[in-house]
């Protein structure tokens, strides 16, 4: 079942095209990771899908309903967590939840039970009486998520839910996302973290307001554009790493070389062997060399696709 479907969705602000003819499809129960540099149009896409902005052209279907024709019918089905904390800072945690719950038609016992349930789920129990404005960043994010899940939506739009959150809390949030997903809830999540992207069912990469890749992470890594025929990917650990990078970039068999953490990722001609590379580096005084073949990472995929896109523009 398709939960979210975009067809050539476009949004212009005056002369600026923030979203340029984006088409994609997300199945029910999937976690769709939406990536792209700052200002590429991620938040705008989410706002279009939540009915906060009207598309300039193209359209989208949420849970089978057209966002242009039937925006109100969609509201009950979706939960939205905006990039910036947007619950009431001068209300307590409980008051915020009660307020949003009551707007969705929850009341009395049902509302009480549901907010207690959600507070437990998000580890907010005991914070009920605290003003939302005095919560720490991580707790604010959880409260925002609580507000978005309260009315049991089928589809959730989460705009950078893990921005500015410590690694442990980030992992806990993702555990929750998988929990939601296992209940059949569809999640549309934007992020800048590659490790999060790797965990998604599908990912999309938007660059300069155009979607340049979408699909399962494994599928994207196998794209022919990412693995040009006659090339192979290698990872090199060595010392000193910057000198090695300089050497490799001038080597005739190297197509691309970038530093990745403590190692160099290399896209080289298929003819280049591990021993060739090792020898070339050793001559120049690089030590403790370890070369091994690797799969492309999602980051490799996005970097490559971005370069191709850039090259195509000029």
């Amino acid at each position: 079942m398709t939960a979210i479907l975009l067809q050539e969705l476009t949004k212009r602000f005056g002369t600026l095209t923030a979203v340029n003819s984006v088409s994609l499809e997300v199945n029910e129960g999937e976690i769709y990771g939406f990536l792209g540099p700052n200002g590429s149009g991620k938040s705008t896409v989410i706002k279009l899908l939540c009915g906060l902005l009207e598309p300039t052209s193209g359209t989208a279907w949420i849970a089978g309903k057209n966002v242009r024709q039937d925006p109100e019918a969609i509201r009950e089905q979706i939960g939205y967590m905006s990039q910036r904390f947007s619950l009431y800072e001068d209300l307590t945690v409980e008051e915020n939840l009660h307020f949003f719950g009551s707007i969705y038609g929850l009341s009395g016992r049902l509302l009480q039970n549901r907010s207690r349930e959600v507070m437990q789920l998000l580890d907010l129990s005991g914070r009920g009486r605290q003003l939302a404005g005095t919560l720490s960043g991580g707790l604010k994010q959880r409260l925002a998520l609580a507000g978005a899940i309260l009315h049991q939506p089928r589809i959730m739009f989460l705009d950078e839910p893990t921005a500015g959150i410590d690694p442990v809390a980030r992992r806990e949030l993702w555990d929750l996302f998988f929990h939601f997903s296992s209940q059949g809830i569809t999640l549309f999540v934007t992020t800048h973290y590659m490790d999060e992207a790797e965990r998604c069912t599908s990912v999309g990469y938007i660059y300069l307001s155009q979607l340049i890749a979408t699909g399962e992470p494994e599928g994207l890594k196998k794209l022919p554009e990412v693995n040009p025929s006659g090339t192979r990917r290698l990872e090199i650990n060595c010392h000193p790493i910057t000198q090695a990078l300089r050497i490799l970039r001038t080597a005739p068999y190297v197509r691309d070389a970038t530093i990745f953490g403590q190692a160099i990722h290399l896209l080289a001609d298929a003819s280049a062997s591990e021993s060739d590379i090792e020898r070339d580096l050793q001559i120049q005084g690089v030590t403790s060399i370890l070369v091994r073949p690797i799969e492309p990472s999602l980051e490799d995929v996005f970097v490559l696709l971005t370069r191709r896109q850039e090259a195509a523009r000029v």
Binding site: E54, Y80, L91, F99
Partner: protein
């Protein structure tokens, strides 16, 4: 159509309660303003500071000085000893009026039956100057008449034609009676317009509006839920300023208080509607503030609050018809000062009702559930 109204109303009430200082300001500020402006705006001229340079000192000169002070318009605060000093006192702003009685005043009166008194008037404040001219002329006239009658006694001293103006309303011609009802209208307009405009624009600024808009809340429910608490506050405010008007400025309400309150509610709705209309446009509080001023300035200048609308150019009069405050000020003065009722005022009331309905409807229609 009104989905979410009670949730929003409840939330708004909590937020207002949680910020008692703002609530205090909202309630107290207009009262302070009313007190301040009510005392400051006083077009009645009394006890104008006056200096006298008397070169004569005989009985007749003292009589004319008494005649001036008896009018209560002039209060003698200085006695000058030279022309130069009299002049300097006015230039320095110590006094507004200088009266010079020449040395030959009594002589001239006795010998020729005519004498001159010089009255110097500081013309920089036009309302004081014009009254000073009128009053000193009438002092001169009554003094002349008295002397004339002393010399040529008539059996029944009476003027051939006497004009006797009689004030029907506001018999003491107190400017408070005239100004305060209008002032109340202006103050209510200012606080309600600002309050409502800000209450929505603030949510837009903080991003909470975005979260609200993705919920199934209906525009009308959202707006009315937000308005209701401010409507109550503004109504309490109205009662407060009426109390100040009645017991502090001592302006009695001649007409029906209930009618007055009912029309006040209508007026508040139009002001709330204007605030809402602003909030559908303004992206932040600064813009909202500017737009509110754009509405409030004409309400002060063209509504008849300060300047009578009859004396304005036709265009300005027409603009005045588009301002709710014009009608409300008319109604306030009618009920408070003249004891007018529904029959005399229904046109103004109808105009207010129409405008309130129009503003609220237009803003509800304009308020679409999108951001951009």
């Amino acid at each position: 159509m009104f989905r979410g109204i009670f949730s929003v109303l409840y939330k708004e009430t909590i937020q207002i309660r949680r910020d008692p200082f703002t609530l205090f300001l909202i309630l107290a500020l207009p009262l302070f303003q009313l007190l301040m402006f009510g005392y400051a705006i006083n077009t009645n001229v009394r006890n104008i500071r006056t200096a006298v340079y008397n070169l004569d000192h005989r009985r007749a000169s003292r009589e004319i000085i008494d005649a001036f002070t008896n009018t209560e318009y002039f209060q003698i605060v200085r006695w000058a000893q030279s022309d130069q000093e009299l002049n300097d006192l006015i230039v320095a702003g110590e006094v507004k009026i200088g009266i010079k009685i020449p040395a030959d005043y009594t002589d001239n009166l006795l010998k020729w039956g005519r004498a001159t008194v010089l009255v110097l008037i500081d013309g920089s404040d036009s309302s004081i100057a014009s009254q000073a001219v009128a009053v000193s002329n009438s002092v001169g006239l009554s003094q002349s008449l008295r002397r004339l009658l002393e010399q040529h006694p008539v059996p029944e001293p009476a003027l051939a034609v006497e004009v006797r103006p009689k004030m029907l309303f506001n018999p003491d011609m107190r400017s408070a009676n005239f100004m305060v009802p209008g002032l109340i209208a202006i103050i209510l307009q200012i606080i309600t317009t600002f309050l409502t405009a800000f209450s929505i624009v603030r949510e837009r600024e903080r991003g909470t509006l975005e979260q609200l808009l993705v919920t199934p809340v209906r525009p009308a429910g959202l707006m009315l839920g937000k308005l209701a608490p401010y409507c109550v506050i503004a109504f309490l405010e109205t009662c407060g300023v009426l109390v100040v008007m009645r017991w502090i400025f001592d302006v009695p309400i001649q007409g029906n208080l209930l009618l007055l309150l009912a029309v006040a509610v209508l007026f508040l709705l139009t002001a709330l509607g204007i605030g809402l209309l602003i909030s559908t446009r303004a992206q932040n509080q600064v813009q909202a503030m500017q737009m509110a001023y754009f509405v409030i300035l004409p309400s002060i200048l063209l509504s008849g609050f300060v300047f009578p609308r009859e004396s304005m150019p036709a265009v300005m009069q027409w603009v005045g018809y588009l301002i709710p405050a014009s009608y409300f000020i008319e109604v306030m003065r009618g009920i408070v000062l003249r004891g007018a009722g529904w029959l005399e005022l229904w046109e103004n009331i109808a105009a207010l009702a129409l405008m309130g309905f129009l503003f609220l409807t237009v803003s509800a229609l304009r308020f679409r559930k999108t951001l951009g």
